[in-house]
């Protein structure tokens, strides 16, 4: 898997993990540690990736959703 794809999926997972923490992360933490990295990844995929990479990202996001899915 390409480096940019790995990171994009990983940062989405970091975001999900924070929603499962037993305390509420600050808006600043969410923005700096999750949203901005994910935005940079998205930019990289659009800028340097292929359509297949974009598809791999969506598949990875779906796997992350399954990881925390209740149903």
């Amino acid at each position: 898997m390409k480096q940019i794809v790995k990171r994009t999926i990983g940062h989405f997972g970091v975001l999900i993990d924070h929603t499962l923490r037993p305390y509420e992360p600050s808006p600043e933490h969410i923005l700096e540690r999750m949203v901005y990295p994910l935005c940079r990844d998205m930019h990289d995929v659009l800028d340097r990736g292929t359509k297949n990479d974009a598809w791999d990202v969506i598949e990875g996001f779906s796997r992350e959703c399954t990881r925390v899915s209740h149903g």
Partner: protein, 178 residues
């Protein structure tokens, strides 16, 4: 999160009714201020997630944390990658005995969101600045060792017979989650 009981809510409303009308706006602004600043991030956190663990590690303790991870999971090799200034990715492979000097060479990248550590059966992701998500199968004893190790690096020892799911350190106050 703390629950407000009906009794407590009635007491709060009774107290607010005692506030003179001309001062009520000030009180409400004070309460709004408390709410806005109510979310505080811990200096240290380690807790279980589906498929791994999640961590907040002080940046100056990241090297210790990575050693703790390699020791606890008994890894024979890790592959670390990060984004360089030119936008390309660098990839380095380390054996445990090379980790100390190797991490020292790339210290500036340890706090970067592009840092990634892969090993057989798992990956460590980061949002940067010591905020980590670990994806791997962990035994209960590995989880307890990681939680205890992360806490110990901040000068706290944990003595408990109970299995805990997480621990956080807020301004010198330790909160244990079960």
């Amino acid at each position: 999160m703390a629950m407000i009981t009906d009794q407590a809510e009635r007491a709060i409303l009774d107290a607010i009714r005692q506030v003179p009308a001309d001062q009520l706006a000030g009180v409400l602004n004070y309460i709004r201020g408390l709410s806005a600043s109510g979310t505080v991030d811990p200096q240290v956190y380690a807790g279980i997630t589906p498929g791994g663990m999640s961590f907040e590690i002080p940046p100056d303790q990241i090297i210790y944390f990575l050693h703790l991870l390699v020791d606890t999971l008994e890894l024979s090799q890790v592959v670390i990658s990060f984004k360089q200034e030119d936008g390309n990715f660098a990839e380095r492979t380390y054996r445990p005995e090379d980790l100390e000097s190797g991490l020292g060479d790339i210290e500036v990248h340890l706090v970067d969101p592009s840092f990634l550590m892969e090993f057989e059966g798992g990956t460590l992701y980061t949002g940067g600045d010591g905020c980590f998500s670990l994806r791997t199968l962990l035994t209960p004893s590995q989880i307890q060792r990681l939680i205890g190790g992360v806490l110990k690096s901040s000068g706290f020892d944990m003595y408990t017979q109970r299995k805990i799911t997480g621990v956080a350190l807020f301004d010198g106050r330790t909160v244990v989650y079960q």
